[in-house]
């Protein structure tokens, strides 16, 4: 029996991998897909469709929400032969990106495959993303202004 707590943990895990898949490059996903032993068939529940999501901000960062403007997003839903449904919502207009993200979402829901896919697909994608941002963060840190207090010539009291 699944306890509510267990369900919550499962949802959190899925939330995490769906985010990683959405933010991965389509090339990296394609590579991971081709790296699987077999590429299972699927039927579409909802074919890839490009549309928009209204991005919201908050006044002064944490106040009343408002509509900033839209961003392009592509979604799809599919079902594997065993009935598991995979869903994807990914930024941009790349149908293949949504398809691959939904396929991995479905595969990751299969308990038998989850641990292996987390290790061989999700963790490397996440690592790749982190590493890609590292140089940028170091470059940003290099532009931090250092203030110096003028020396008075007297030692500390």
């Amino acid at each position: 029996m699944t306890s509510p707590r267990h369900k919550e943990a499962e949802q959190e895990e899925r939330r995490h991998w769906m985010g990683v898949l959405a933010r991965a490059s389509v090339d990296a996903l394609e590579e991971a897909w081709q790296g699987l032993e077999t590429q299972p068939d699927h039927v579409w529940v909802r074919r890839p469709e490009s549309g928009m999501t209204m991005v919201r901000g908050r006044a002064n960062g944490n106040g009343v929400p408002f509509n900033l403007g839209e961003m392009t997003v592509t979604r799809c839903a599919l079902r594997l032969e065993d009935g598991v449904m995979g869903v994807a919502y990914v930024q941009g207009r790349d149908h293949r990106h949504a398809e691959l993200a939904a396929l991995f979402d479905a595969l990751l829901q299969r308990p038998a495959m989850r641990a292996a896919l987390q290790r061989t697909v999700i963790a490397p994608l996440e690592r790749r993303r982190r590493e890609a941002g590292e140089a940028a963060r170091r470059r940003t840190a290099a532009t931090r202004v250092e203030f110096f207090t003028m020396a008075t010539g007297r030692g500390a009291a």
């Binding site: 469709e49 999501t53 009343v64 509509n67 170091r138 203030f147």
Partner: protein, 368 residues
């Protein structure tokens, strides 16, 4: 009023052909790629995404290419494309405190936790033309990398607002509907949500001039840039199939929290008031101008007399949209032949009457 006219198909088609030729320019030069525009004309792309109200770098770059760099025309193209896409939902509000910061400065506090981070900026450049850029073969050195990585930083107002000296952000009711001026016409007085949306989509030049006017005394609010930050934030939404929030991607934004002189009333002691600006991409000038105008538009709720243009909601919000403004100004080019004919007749009649009146007056004078 203008009336529909027929004919001219061949001339119109030839004119479009001529425009396409002019856009391509000298065939001896390589054609510019949309990827080059997205990479090397990033600020133009950011402006078109912000005012075009659609975050998609490739589409904005395409619009800029098609419009030959005319940003207002590119904004129009992007807005038109926008109407062909279905809306799949709304995001959770982005969390700018968790921003992957690429720039963060404050003009109000020198020693901030996290410090002042300049990022890629034109500030402190001498605005001298850089003739080295004429050489497209030269090497651009890799930027310097610090030994440590930049970490996310709390917002300045959240760190320093606690003494009550700084107005708290207005929260509104949880779960209350968020105004959407792309779906329902604006109503006055407009709520802060509708105003911020209109300003975010608004023309940078218009808002810059209005913001400037508040600094020059037309609605003076004595502003300080409490914080300007720029960087990338995750976007989350709750898909209808799932019922829980997932990350769908990442966008770059610029945020400005403008601290202004005092509000307060019988109940509340004087405190700094705030204006807010937010835009897609790197758009510091826009975010700052927006924050100035947002604060000016709050005059009524803060008990100030609204007497200057920047404080007038209808004036600002009805004229900030450059697609609407451009359309109405440019429709003057359409045939107004019938209108003008009737005006011609009118002015002729007025002149006849004027001449007649003068003649009669002269006769009268001569007779006396």
């Amino acid at each position: 009023m203008y009336v529909a006219v027929k004919g001219g198909e061949a001339a119109i088609s030839n004119a479009h052909g001529l425009m396409a030729d002019e856009r391509r320019g000298d065939r001896a030069l390589p054609e510019i790629g949309v990827d080059q525009i997205a990479e090397q004309l990033g600020h133009a792309v950011d402006r078109v995404m912000t005012e075009g109200s659609l975050y998609d770098r490739e589409l904005a770059a395409l619009a800029i290419k098609q419009a030959q760099g005319d940003t207002v025309e590119a904004v129009f193209l992007l807005r038109a494309y926008r109407t062909t896409l279905p809306r799949l939902g709304a995001s959770e509000p982005i969390d700018t405190a968790a921003m992957n910061v690429e720039r963060r400065i404050s003009a109000t506090y020198k020693d901030l936790p996290g410090g002042q981070v300049l990022g890629p900026t034109y500030d402190y450049t001498h605005r001298l033309l850089d003739f080295d850029l004429l050489d497209t073969e030269r090497e651009v050195p890799e930027p310097y990398e610090s030994g440590e990585e930049q970490q996310p930083m709390a917002r300045v107002a959240d760190i320093l607002g606690h003494e009550g000296l700084l107005e708290e952000a207005q929260h509104g009711e949880a779960g209350a509907p968020v105004a959407d001026i792309t779906r329902e016409p604006m109503r006055f007085p407009a709520g802060r949500d509708a105003r911020l949306q209109a300003l975010a989509r608004g023309d940078e030049g218009f808002l810059l001039a209005l913001g400037y006017s508040t600094q020059r005394g037309y609605g003076g609010t004595h502003p300080f840039a409490g914080e300007v930050r720029m960087g990338t934030v995750a976007v989350e939404m709750v898909p209808e199939e799932l019922g829980f929030a997932i990350e769908i991607g990442e966008i770059a934004v610029t945020e400005c929290d403008m601290v202004n002189q005092f509000g307060g009333d019988a109940e509340r002691p004087p405190q700094f008031t705030r204006g807010y600006g937010l835009s897609f991409g790197r758009a510091e000038r826009k975010a700052m101008a927006m924050a100035l105008v947002d604060r000016a538009l709050r005059s009524q709720e803060l008990g100030e007399e609204a007497v200057f243009p920047a404080q007038d909601q209808e004036f600002v919000l009805y004229h900030a949209d450059n697609v609407e403004a451009s359309g109405f100004v440019q429709h003057l080019k359409l045939p107004h032949y019938v209108d003008f004919q009737s005006e011609l007749e009118l002015v002729r009649r007025l002149r006849r009457e004027h001449a007649q009146a003068r003649e009669e007056a002269m006769h009268k004078e001569a007779a006396e």
